[in-house]
């Protein structure tokens, strides 16, 4: 967040969020590991009184006073009844029985969403600058639901309920767990009623990528966020004794390696363990690694932990090599010893050299922080991908946002590596995940809520989606680091958020609670399943009505063809939220070299006033294709002032 506001074009945030009006009283509720309230990101200088009607509390604990909250951090609660029922009493020597964050994750996410500006922020000198959340004038309330042993759904559901009662406007959940029918998923159940009360719910898509069908939190009333990089990197250059050079990444800060070459050894050759190459605890033979740079393969144990193990064995440095599971994705870490992460190709070359030359040497030079890295964003390999396995008719993720190497505030209980043996303490940390991209969107949603208080959660999401970009300024598609090729809507949904455009989207695809109930009827949910979500037994499905999943007024299109091809129709209704104007449509899609015919009726929509609604029907026609084939495209309504874009993902069953 010393870079993402600028990367997102938010330098003029006040243009979106008026400084001192009541419109700035947007409250973001963050369900996570709690908060470290002493961090300056929660300084309340310049904030007016807590919004009227706020019912939240600053719950006390043995290490958390009720005075820890202020006019910025207006609530802090903790929920552990379900956790303790399952796991027994929390071990207070390891975690606080209070809203205090002993992990760092919750402090990081809440300050990403709404942390105030903090000058002089950095991690060990890296990413230095002014850290600032996406909605720096929004208020924050934190709800601690995650503990050392996990985050339990009974606690999460209660926390969501209390947060809504407290009066939050946005709920941010950077957590998830598998996939289930929506009436069995507590986050989806809680989010439905929250949505109905006008609360925007954003959730992380998950870090199970790059495989297909790996995302969680895919309910259509949730905004599901994937992760991309920003234009910042932390290069660390590896030079081998054979003259070859490779660029890795690192957040190491400390005594550098000697400038003269250091002996290099592959961990697999310095261990008697069958998994020695992974630098697992106790696996390295000290006599073989002493004073050397050790090449460890990534996987199984934590990346930074490998550095501790190398150091404990007497190693001088570490090169952490990606394997095929991670490809070329580089995630920077605050290693405890001079260490650099390298991609799979570099790792293979360095490994070959280390294994073939008994006198192999290497050096690592740490180059600090570089900005202006292009191309950016690229889709993170770890970012979970569609299709949505629960309801393939809803394209997910919805959007991507910055989620790689994000600097934000951190807990005082734990070092930057998060490992118990790490005695370093930092005010800010740099970490990666869709956990980090989710609160970016939560903060942006707060900005939009402030700018357009009348917009529904679906309208806010629509604005974020239809104004997202899916290509670089040169016209090339946003790349997926997992493949090196342009990403598809199954990777990025509508694309990367562009808040400056989202504030004035022209048209929105709005969705009411009744629309969602119709969608549940189309899923053939029974009365009890629907009532679980809506709380009303009256929300039944009419026997004389035909329901279609394709009728959900979603800002994207997930089209399913039978293997034999054919024509599939989707209907949509757009609401004008801008000036009067005329929009013309352009749409195309293809599966490889096979075009999918896309026709829209009508092809022109005219609006004479704000709030006016117009409907259209899209017909997708395609030939036969083998089952599992995917096709992609885009449908764009354009006027003199706006582009309203929707991604298309087609699948042959």
């Amino acid at each position: 967040t010393t870079r993402t506001p600028e990367f997102l074009g938010l330098d003029g945030t006040d243009a979106l969020l008026p400084q001192s009006s009541t419109g700035s009283d947007v409250i973001i509720g963050v369900l996570d590991t709690g908060v470290w309230p002493e961090r300056p990101s929660y300084d309340d200088t310049g904030f007016g009184p807590v919004p009227a009607g706020w019912k939240g509390e600053c719950e006390k604990g043995n290490d958390f006073k009720s005075s820890a909250c202020n006019k910025k951090l207006i609530g802090a609660r903790f929920f552990l009844t379900g956790y303790e029922a399952a796991k027994g009493p929390v071990d207070t020597s390891k975690e606080s029985r209070s809203p205090r964050d002993n992990d760092g994750h919750g402090t990081h996410t809440s300050s990403t969403a709404a942390g105030g500006a903090v000058q002089g922020a950095d991690l060990l000198g890296y990413a230095a600058g002014t850290a600032k959340g996406m909605a720096p004038r929004a208020r924050v309330a934190t709800y601690k639901v995650c503990w050392v042993g996990g985050c339990f759904s009974s606690d999460i559901l209660k926390a969501m309920e209390v947060a809504v009662t407290d009066g939050v406007d946005v709920l941010s959940l950077s957590l998830g767990g598998g996939t289930a029918d929506y009436y069995r998923d507590s986050i989806a159940v809680g989010a439905f009623s929250a949505m109905e009360k006008g609360i925007f719910v954003s959730c992380s898509a998950g870090n199970a990528g790059p495989g297909a069908a790996t995302l969680s939190n895919g309910a259509p009333w949730i905004t599901t966020v994937g992760a991309g990089t920003i234009d910042r990197d932390f290069p660390a250059y590896v030079t081998l004794g054979n003259g070859k050079n490779y660029t890795g990444v690192s957040l190491y800060s400390g005594k550098p390696l000697p400038t003269t070459p250091v002996p290099l050894i592959y961990a697999g050759n310095a261990s008697n363990s069958s998994m020695g190459q992974l630098c697992m605890s106790g696996s390295l033979i000290p006599e073989k690694v002493a004073g050397k740079i050790v090449l460890c393969d990534r996987g199984t144990n934590a990346r930074v932990q490998k550095g501790f193990i190398v150091k404990d064995a007497g190693g001088a440095g570490m090169i952490l090599a990606n394997t095929a599971a991670n490809g070329e994705e580089l995630v920077a870490d605050a290693h405890i010893l001079p260490g650099s992460g390298v991609g799979e190709k570099a790792g293979n070359a360095i490994r070959d050299y280390a294994m073939s030359d008994p006198k192999a040497t290497a050096t690592i030079v740490f180059a600090g922080t570089k900005v202006g890295i292009q191309p950016s964003p690229v889709v993170a390999a770890f970012s979970s991908r569609g299709p949505n396995t629960v309801t393939p008719s809803v394209l997910k993720p919805d959007i991507i946002a910055p989620g790689v190497n994000i600097l934000a505030a951190w807990s005082g209980s734990v070092g930057p590596s998060g490992i118990a043996g790490d005695s370093r303490r930092v005010g800010f940390n740099i970490i990666s995940g869709t956990s980090m991209s989710c609160p970016h969107v939560s903060g942006l949603a707060a900005l939009l809520r402030a700018a357009h208080p009348e917009w529904s959660p679906a309208a806010i999401r629509s604005a974020l989606m239809t104004t997202a970009y899916n290509e670089y300024p040169n016209g090339n598609g946003i790349l997926d680091v997992a493949t090196g090729r342009p990403a598809t809507p199954l990777d990025v949904g509508a694309g990367h958020v562009d808040p400056g455009k989202a504030v004035d989207p022209g048209l929105v695809y709005d969705i009411t609670t009744a629309d969602y109930v119709d969608f549940l009827c189309a899923l053939n949910y029974g009365p009890m399943q629907i009532a679980t979500l809506t709380k009303r037994s009256s929300d039944g499905c009419a026997a004389n009505r035909t329901y279609a999943e394709s009728a959900l007024n979603y800002p994207s299109f997930a089209v399913t063809f039978p293997a034999g091809g054919g024509t599939v129709k989707h209907t949509r209704t757009v609401t004008n939220v801008g000036q009067p104007g005329t929009y013309k449509v352009a749409a195309s899609a293809a599966a490889g070299s096979t075009p999918v015919a896309v026709s829209v009726e009508p092809s022109t929509l005219s609006f004479s006033k704000a709030g006016e609604k117009q409907s259209y029907t899209v017909s997708f026609t395609a030939p036969a294709k083998p089952s599992g084939t995917n096709g992609f495209g885009r449908l764009v309504w354009s006027s003199d002032h706006h582009l309203v874009a929707s991604p298309i993902a087609a699948t042959w069953n």
Binding site: D32, T33, T81, G82, A85, A86, K87, G88, D103, H105, C146, G150, C151, F152, S153, S154, I156, L157, K158, M160, E161, V164, T165, S174, L175, G176, G177, G178, A180, Y183, R184, D185, S186, I187, V189, G190, F192, S193, A194, S204, A205, G206, N207, G433, T434, S435, C438, M528, Q529, A531, T532, K535, R536, S537
Partner: protein, 82 residues
Amino acid sequence: GRDDRQTYIVHMSHSAMPNDFVEHGEWYAASLQAVSEAATVLYTYDTLVHGYSARLTRAEAEALKSQPGVLIVNPEVRYELH
């Protein structure tokens, strides 16, 4: 788990509460006691959902499904940070 019980989230039909009860919490407790003498309510939910959570054996959870007003009985899920 520490015993053979696990937490379930019991979703109830708010409007199905018999007239014998004044408050939904009383009804939930009675519903629970009908299938388990040992179980107690962990949380009552009354804003985003209607229902409660409790530690139950699998047999008790099954029995609860046939209690009047019970919509769905969901086993607790452990979520993870992303």
